[in-house]
Structure formats: C-alpha cells, structure tokens
Amino acid sequence: MAEEIKLTQQDRMAVCWRHQFLQGSWNYERMQNGGWCYAMIPAIKRLYSTKEEQAAALKRHLEFYNTHPYVSAPIIGVTLALEEERANGAPVEDTAIQGVKVGMMGPLAGVGDPVFWFTVRPILGALGASMAMGGSIIGPILFFVLWNIIRMAFLWYTQEFGYKVGSEIAKDLSGGLLGKVTEIASILGMFIIGALVQRWVSITFTPVVSTVAQSEGAYIDWSALPAGTEGIKSAFELYASLGAAGLNVDKVTTLQDNLNQLIPGLAAVLLTLLCCRLLKKNISPIAIILALFAVGIVGRLLGFM
C-alpha cells in the first residue's frame, strides 16, 4: 500500500505564517488570490511531486478569493484537509475545493468584519489610545501586544480547527455558534462605542448664559478672612462645604453647564447621531471631518466654542 502523504505540523505552520501576507497582492481582478496561492505553496510542495500536479495546484489556487483576512484561516485549514485527501487519491474535484472556498468566504467575512474591525480593534484601540493621550507608552504597547496575541492565536487555532474538521465544517457554519459570536460582538461593540462617544468626543460651548451675584454665605468673602495661615485654613474649610461655586461672588453659568445638567455628553451624542445620518446619505466621511474642523475654527472665531 502506498504511504499516505500527510502535511506535517511544520508545513501547516509555514502556511499559517505565509497566510499573514494574504492581502499583499490585493488586486481589483481576483483580489486576494495571489496571497492565497503564496500561502498554499508549502502544502503544494509537500503533497504533489510531479510538475503537472504542482502547476495544476498553483493554478487552481489562483482563483478569485476575498474574505476577512483572519477568518480566512479556517478556510485555508479546510482547504489543506481537502488537498491532502485529494493527494492521497480521493476523488476531490477542482470545483469542489473552489466551491468550499467560495461558500465559506462570504458568511465568515460577515463575522470577521464586525468582530475584528468593528469591535475588537476599536476597543483595544480606544484602550491604548486613552493611555497614549496621557503620554504613556503602555498604550501603544498594550494595543500592539494584545492585538497580535489574539490575532495569531486565532489564525493558528482556527486553521488547525479547519484542518481537523475538514469538509464537515460546512455543516457547523449555518447559524449556531457563528451567529452567537456576531451577536455578542455587536452588543459589546455598541456598548463600548456609546461609552467612547461620552468620553472622547469633546464639544464644549463656552458662551456664558448667566452671571448671578450669589447670596451671602454662598461664597467666600476674601476680604473678610483673617490674615495669614488662619485665613488660608478657613478658606479651605469654606471651600470644602461650598465647592467651586464659592470661589467667586458671581456664579457664572455657561451653556455647557446647562447642557451637562441634562446629561453630560449630550452634544457629543447628538453630533455622533448626526454623523450617522450624514454617512447613511453617502456623504463622504472626509467631507464631514473637514466640515467639523471648519465648524471648530468658526466656533473659536465667533467665540461660541
């Protein structure tokens, strides 16, 4: 009996490593096809020995391919399993392999995009950025390290999962686990975005709405304080009970204070929702960003921001 050709773990690791270059030759004609073929090469070398078989394998792996670059890992795992079966004599047609690729790339991209690009990366990015804005290098390091650990673990383990499960995977795809993962990602993503809108979109309206002279006892009368350290001590005691409003005889209320009484961040969320509307109407995000800068400059000029 002929010895069964098997892909070694080293072969699969080589494929996994090369798979990180999947999008390298992204082109408008067949999209990720070049990178896919590049990743498959170690496997093709192991499984096929004649020039004709190798050429045929290279050609069929240069077919159209486009999906999210990380969820492509289980797809390549399954493909490895199918190619291995074929190399060992099983009647696996070219069309079957391409069919599995095409069948998986759509639904999986529907999971990969929201989970990685719109949940994990914004969350890690916001986490790192909030630390970075204070000048701490922990921010960028945290982002880089956490992201790459998650990504590489995902790439390897899902590729292995695809390889072990082989063509059976097509049954797991519909509904079930994948659907749940997408849902959880959406919920978490929306929650975090809500928090980020409150914390990181800053709009402050500077105009003063009212200046009211406060009643006696509601403010610190600086001229009536005892001299020296006794005066400092009683000033602090008064401040502790009156708060910041007690520092001046006039209580100044700005427009922002009024808005904050309703809910802090009100203007920020309204602005974000406005941007959602504008984007849905196909207004380019670049145009909106430039418009916001213009509004900022005008606001500063006219004194309302």
Partner: protein, 271 residues
C-alpha cells in the same frame, strides 16, 4: 533630522505601508506608527500623544470587502513627520504642533487612499505574471511577485515619507508659529469633535434596532467617571452574555411550551 533618524523613519514608513494592505500586525495604525516615528526621531512622548489622538479618529477606518477605508498608514506616518518637523528646534508650541498634525492627517488619509488604489491596480499585471509562473509550476516565480507586490505597498508610503523628511524643519516651525490663535484653537476644537465621525462609521456598520439600547447603556454608564474603560468593557461583556443567554432561554421556553404559547393559560386550562 539626523541621517540615521531619516533612515529609520523610512523603514517605519515602509512597514506601515505594507501593513496598510496586509492589516495583520497593525504597524499602520496611528498608535503604533506615530509612536515609532516619535521614538526614532527623539520625540517619543509627542509621538505617543499624536498616535493616541489619531487612533480615536481612525477607530472606524476598516476595509470591508472591496470598499477601501481612508488610509491610516499615510495619515499616521506623514502627520507624525510633520509634527516632528514642527517641534524641530523646540521653538513651536507642542499643542499647536499636535493639533495641526491631527488636522493634516485627514487630507493625508485621502492621499493615501488614492495611492493604495493605484497599487491595487498595478497588482493586476503582477498577478498575471503569477499566472504565467503557475503554468510552469514555478514556485519561486509566484513567491517573487507576491513579495514585489507587498514591497510596492511599502514604498507607497516610504517615498512620500522620504520626501517629507526633506522639507526643512524651519519652514514648518515658522508656519506653525505664524498661525493665529483662533486658527490653532479652532483646529484643536475641531480635533475634539472629529472622533464622532469614526464612531458614526462603526455604528452604521453594527447598528440594528435590537442593539441600540446597549449604546444608550454604554453612553450613560460612561458618565460615571470612576468606571474605567476596562470596567465598562466588563459590564458590556456581561450584558451581552446575559442577553444572549436570555434569548436562548426564551427560544427553548417557546419550544417546550408548545401549543398555545400562553403558559398561564395552559395551567389554568389544566384545572
């Protein structure tokens, strides 16, 4: 900028350019690219701060399918170089330098977008060469063209970066110092608002009627200053799991309740 700095900047730019298409290690993200440029030019803290600020704006920039998002690679690298030039001999105000760089990052991302579309078009004949190599079973051929394509994406950013490095620092510092207060102040104000666009992009991708309540929850809970982002994340995950869990229970409950779907009515009917 010293010679070694320029070489390192070009190297970082090359990495960022490659990652702009590969999207794996994230060297093109502002947090990483701006920090690296800051480190190799001797302005680490400013680089980190710029990176953090730009990252907030770029949170929603992602390539989905064939649609290409604004380019983070050129935006990060170019704005960081300009900022470093502006800080140059220390005469320009740091905040102005940073907020101007943020403002510049936006048009730069459009330029970067244009450049990546160019590369993706040039990649078509490259892939045809790969086809020719595949016909002959030539592995090396396929590999070489793949690496060349990746290299092209790298120089897409490395060349503009090198050009920017050639601009004399004095020119940038003079320009920054000459900016009137209302302009630099206004841009700082604008910079604070711009993150809203990135968030709006993410929301449009994810929002369904079902998940909007969670947005509200996240927003309101964030008003509590004591809750760190990680604490909020934990709350978010907990809410998501609880909600999904309850949905599952509801589905199962509906299945076993069978008939009328009105459990109380069923119990009463049994009497």
């Amino acid at each position: 900028m010293g010679g070694i700095s320029i070489i390192l900047v070009i190297l970082v730019a090359f990495l960022a350019g490659m990652e702009g298409i590969l999207d794996e290690f994230q060297f093109h993200q502002p947090l990483v690219a701006c920090t690296l440029i800051g480190i190799v030019t001797g302005h680490p803290t400013e680089g980190i701060i710029l990176g953090g600020s730009l990252q907030m704006i770029a949170l929603g920039w992602a390539n989905v399918g064939a649609a290409v998002a604004p380019d983070a690679a050129l935006a990060s690298v170019a704005s960081a170089i300009i900022m470093v030039k502006g800080l140059g001999d220390g005469s320009a105000d740091v905040t102005t330098a940073i907020s101007t760089s943020i403002a510049l990052a936006v048009p730069l991302s459009v330029a970067g977008l244009f450049l990546t579309m160019l590369c993706r078009t040039i990649a078509i004949p490259m892939v045809h060469f790969m086809d020719a190599a595949a016909e002959k079973g030539n592995f090396r051929g396929v590999e070489i063209w793949q690496l060349l394509a990746i290299g092209l994406q790298g120089i897409r950013i490395a060349i503009p970066a090198a050009m920017l490095c050639m601009i004399p620092a004095e020119a940038v510092t003079t320009m920054l110092n000459a900016m009137p207060a209302w302009l630099s102040g206004g841009m700082a104000v604008g910079g604070g608002m711009v993150a809203a666009v990135g968030y709006a992009m993410v929301i449009n991708m994810m929002a369904t009627a079902e998940v909007w309540p969670f947005f509200v929850l996240g927003f309101v809970l964030a008003c509590i200053g004591d809750l760190t982002l990680i604490a909020l994340g934990a709350i978010g995950i907990a809410l998501a799991l609880i909600y999904i869990g309850l949905k599952d229970l509801a589905k199962q409950g509906g299945g076993s309740g069978g008939g009328s779907g009105d459990p109380l009515g069923d119990i009463l009917n049994d009497y």
